[in-house]
Amino acid sequence: MLRRIFLPAILIILGYGFWISPDFKEIAAGVAIFLFGMITLEEGFKAFSGGTLEKILKKSTDKLYKSIGFGFIATAIMQSSSLVSVLTISFIGAGLIGLTQGIGIILGANIGTTTGAWLMAGFGLKVKISAYAMPMLAFGVILIFQKAKSIKGIGYILAGLGFLFLGIHYMKDGFEAFKETIDLASFAVDGFKGLLIFIGIGILATVVMQSSHATIVLILAALSVGQITYDNALALTIGANIGTTITAVLGSLSSNIDGKRLAGAHLIFNVVTALVAIVLMNQIISVVDVISDFIGIANDNHTLKLAVFDSLFKVMGVIMFIPFVDKLVKFLESNLKGKDKQEVESYESVQYLNDSVLELPATAMAAIVRETKHLYINAFEIIAHGLNLKRTNILSEMELEDVIKEGYSKNIVDIDDFYEHRIKGVYGEIIDFATQAQSKMSPEDIEDLYALKIASRDIVDAVKDTKHLQKNLVKYKNNLNNHIQEQYDGIRIGLAELLRGIDVVSKMSEEDEVIVLLSKMKVNMQRYDILANGTLDNLIRNNLITNEMATSLMNDSAYAYEISKHFIAMAEIIFIDVSSDIKNLGEDMLISDEEVDKILEKGD
């Protein structure tokens, strides 16, 4: 209801403003151009967020102070805390970082936004900024039309900055001209009442513009020509800081539970800091005067003093919150809870795929990789139990001969039921999500995405093959013919070795070890193929097994071979990704089927 009224109301107010004042039109156009500049700038930075994102995030957010530093630098460069919070929600959604790191980034981003006020007060208001805007726009737009992703990105950044500067120029000019017709300063309200009213206006302005940065630039432009008083400008700044959390809250609605918790932390942090600032307003103003004096800012230079105030109250807030980050995480975890665990267990759902990670191609890709790994973990368990093997035994250092002796259960495990509950839904969602994600991706990313879809299909196929294999494993388990039992035990040993190997690969970080182990698995897979190694011929020729057994063995050996093939192919895609060195080389370094044959020939 409110939403339905909100937009027409804004449009009517704007229309009325344009009708009565051409100067208001200039200010509004300045704000619109500034916001468009921010959108363009965001687009540009998104072009550079792929590839090494995961590595950078891991290295720069492993400690709280690093997360704060990362948030500060990212916001100072991108000049948008809203973008940084939305991206942080997206990183959390994709499982790239945890809630504590996310809160650190948000704290840093709050300090990072102060650079915008400094730039505007120290540079934007003093020089003819539009002179820089025009060449930036011209170069930027030319580069935007280029095909190369990075050049396009540079184009968007240049054009974005150009629009930001142009917007500032119009806002400044608009306020100067506006002053000659209406003196907004006459609407100034003093005292505590004024503080609350202008905080409210600051919140409202930021909610409408969806950018505290734009609000602060607007405040500075108005303050520079004396259209608002210094005291009211301080209140507006506090309001802008609260209003900005609304963008993060809206961004988190489509996120997973950690994304929602992060938005909650953002809201708590900004509101508490604002409350403290209101209570200590007079003291903060005195400190601002002392700092301003110390760094040589003139007493009547209200724009730079506002920048000092903005920095001081945000830094104060961060320092105040640092000791309580862990408590805040605990509070949010206990008060904002995810889905009921029982619901999750009955029909397993996806863990990393949500709309928030679609924000960036890199986070969408990282989320799909993680979800495919989740699918692999489920499949590992199903295959192990389908072969009547204990997962813990496979992952231990137990001899494989002993692993197959200790069965998982006396009853037959229902693979169909497992498949329905833990594979089918997750697989379906991965494919659906990948289709959505690829609309924003470059051709190279789409190629990687295609490989991931194939990896998911490999996992599903391996589970289906296990179902076929299980039938005869059960049938020949207690057969009196030792030869057939021996062969089926051999199949189970081979697959247990494969599962153990894949698990080792999944935990490895040394790329040389990964490719050697995967190659070894390929050699083993070929070695265990009883059709190729002549074992089956030998059993038939010497009448050691019946024709029926031979057919079963032939089929099941093929199933085991397919399971191995699918799992190795899947591992080459999802686990090699961990190491950037091999990813850089692609499939060029992996051993081919012909080379496997040559190695086996030499071994014989």
């Binding site: 580069l143 050049i151 040394e510 790329e511 050697v516 850089n584 370094m589 080379e595």
Partner: protein, 81 residues
């Protein structure tokens, strides 16, 4: 000069293509270094007295590593040419 040519010139002047190539070269060199030291380690182990099964296993691993070193060298040669 067309815009496309201008971009190509800038890319060439800034050496952006070379940067991509040299990062790939670095990856291959790193990998080759690791594989070669692995090869040396296996050679040393093979000189010691081992069971038949272990010797066979190590020989097979050596074969795999040698194939991969060859592959790496071919990639490096291509990148250098």
């Amino acid at each position: 000069m067309g815009v496309k040519k201008f971009i190509e010139l800038v890319t060439e002047t800034l050496g952006l293509d070379e940067m991509k190539k040299s990062s790939k070269k670095k990856s291959v060199k790193n990998l080759l270094k690791k594989l070669n030291s692995k090869k040396d380690a296996i050679s040393k182990r093979l000189k010691a007295k081992l069971s038949k099964k272990k010797t066979k296993e190590l020989n097979e691993e050596m074969e795999i590593i040698q194939f991969q070193i060859k592959k790496g060298e071919v990639i490096l040669k291509k990148l250098n040419s």
